[in-house]
């Protein structure tokens, strides 16, 4: 899973040492990796911390809609695959929190920011998973959109993030294929299964397009992020690429994309498509998504109910260290 920039931050303040800034920009422009101990402008550090922690939070919150179906997976094979997938997502969350920690913010602080509502996570996880086809649609569309965003991030300028993305992308590509395979089975199945598949596409299509973030002219951070090689492609470029790849996949399944404006445009060599409902997008970003309250409640409760376990582990580690020192 991936989340695009969701917060419109303040203008970058140019209070940095100009010589250092110039050297930094030259390194980035030469496609060198920036490492944790290297000098970096504060705004670069802040933007990356926000982006990587949003990405980490998305992995963790993203376990909930899928976890909702582990107990009800319809075969032993599907159950095993879904468990493996959710486990991968927990793993991605871990490396991403670790990558963000190299920028100087602790995991505890990041999690507190998520629980207080200050930090964002991908809007997509604020939609419910109603039928088994939703597990297919999440793999196919949501992980498909994630790959589109993440493949370029393997060349992002911050070394720990880029390296985390190399591992994450390999696993996401498996996730995308398993999702599509669920859809294939359902579309080749009974009328009930086909209905679930089409309904899942209807509900997940537009939220998947929203995953690429606002349009380029409404994305105030894009220019700076591209200059710093934090981003490598604009939101609209990635969204177009996603539509171009996904529409033929829907055709192959015998499903209809819920957008009457989808039409091949020979001149641009891509599909035309309708406008995302940006009012809904911004409402979901603000925390007004259909199951946003449920997701945050589940995360807060897990954290609060687990506090005694984390305290016990810390107390035991201290006792152990004291015994070893004695």
């Amino acid at each position: 899973m991936y989340t695009t920039e969701l917060q419109k931050n303040a203008q970058v303040q140019n209070l940095e040492d100009p010589a250092k800034l110039e050297a930094f920009e030259a390194r980035v422009a030469a496609d060198e990796f920036i490492e944790p101990k290297d000098w970096m402008p504060e705004a670069y550090r802040r933007t990356l911390t926000r982006q990587i922690s949003q990405h980490a939070h998305s992995e963790i919150v993203g376990m909930l809609p899928e976890g909702n179906w582990i107990s009800r997976a319809p075969s032993l094979r599907r159950k095993a695959i879904l468990l493996a997938k959710v486990q991968d997502e927990a793993g991605h969350g871990l490396y991403l929190y670790s990558a963000a920690e190299t920028l100087g913010t602790s995991r505890q602080e990041m999690i507190e920011a998520l629980h207080s509502g200050k930090a964002k996570y991908s809007t997509i996880f604020n939609y419910p998973t109603l039928t088994w086809a939703d597990i297919g649609a999440i793999g196919w569309l949501v992980d498909g959109a994630a790959i589109m965003n993440q493949v370029p991030l393997q060349r992002t300028s911050y070394g720990p993030y880029a390296r985390a993305m190399v591992r994450v992308c390999k696993e996401e590509s498996f996730h995308q294929r398993q999702g599509y395979e669920i859809m294939m089975a359902m579309c080749a199945g009974t009328a009930d299964q086909k209905r679930m598949a089409q309904d899942a596409l209807n509900r997940w299509w537009w939220p998947s397009l929203m995953m690429f973030g606002p349009t380029d002219d409404n994305s105030p951070n894009t220019a700076q992020s591209m200059r710093w090689r934090i981003k490598r492609d604009t939101n609209d470029e990635l969204r177009q690429k996603f539509v171009d790849i996904t529409v033929p996949q829907a055709d192959a399944l015998g499903l209809t994309v819920p957008d009457p404006q989808v039409k091949w445009n020979e001149a641009k060599g891509g599909y035309d498509f309708g406008e995302v409902d940006w009012e809904e997008f911004y409402a979901v970003v603000k925390g007004e998504g259909p199951v946003a309250k449920e997701r945050m409640k589940a995360r807060r409760e897990a954290w609060e109910k687990g506090a005694w376990v984390r305290e016990a582990a810390a107390a035991y580690a201290e006792k152990l260290a004291a015994r070893e020192a004695a």
Binding site: R77, L83, W132, W308
Partner: protein
Amino acid sequence: MPSLPPIRPEDEEVALKTRPGGAFDAPVDEEHRATLFEMLLRLGDDSLILGQRLGEWCGHAPSVEVDLSLANIALDLIGQATHFLNLAGEIEGRGRDGDALAFHRDVLDFRNCLLVEQPNGDFAQTMARQLLFSAWQKRLFDQLAASSDERVAAIAAKAVKEVAYHEELAAEWVIRLGDGTDESRARMADGLDWMWRFVPELFELDEAAADANGRGLWPDVDLLRTGYDARLQTVLAEATLDAPKPQRPILGGRRGHHSEHLGHLIAVMQFLPRTYPDAVW
């Protein structure tokens, strides 16, 4: 007719060591098949039901690391269940596979022990269940790796490596929670106390287990118990916990007489294949 060479003593020795039923592929009799099927259901159902329980934690564990490790154990268990239940279906020979057995039986036909169907409770209760089960399963699989049925032996030999890790992870948590804070210690003691009455069932030598033992399909349960008790004693000592007081054993799972919890668990687990019996997923 030319005379046959005499049987050499070393060949005779090899022949005597072969499994009951002879060195050759003697036809498997119905009783043997029924016993093997029964024991495979027990093995498969134990793994399936505990895997299902652990999956309920997904996204709700005390930390990301714990979430990951619980999903990991659940995945191993579902893998074991798939192997055991597919083999059970094959042995039964009535066209049922692992999915048919997992998703189309009702409570009375489930053969898992009562321990694995117990609710997750808090994390201490989950870890108590895991230690009590995995410590048993580890010793069981060590023995089953030498089962007279080579298919069972192969599954056990592969799975025992996974189970060694489950046991280790659970033991570490029991120790950490037992010797952690006052609260974690009290919760750990409660968790063990809740699960304790289901331990004797693991070592129950009912008719099927005794029969399976005679056929080289099930180990000597007293031998298992000795290793198990020793292991628990070590872990509890390190956790600075006393073993719970002996409780009247609750039995019945192996005969389909379960707790009230199992019906709810399988209702959720089986809902899709039951609602859409013609669908292939």
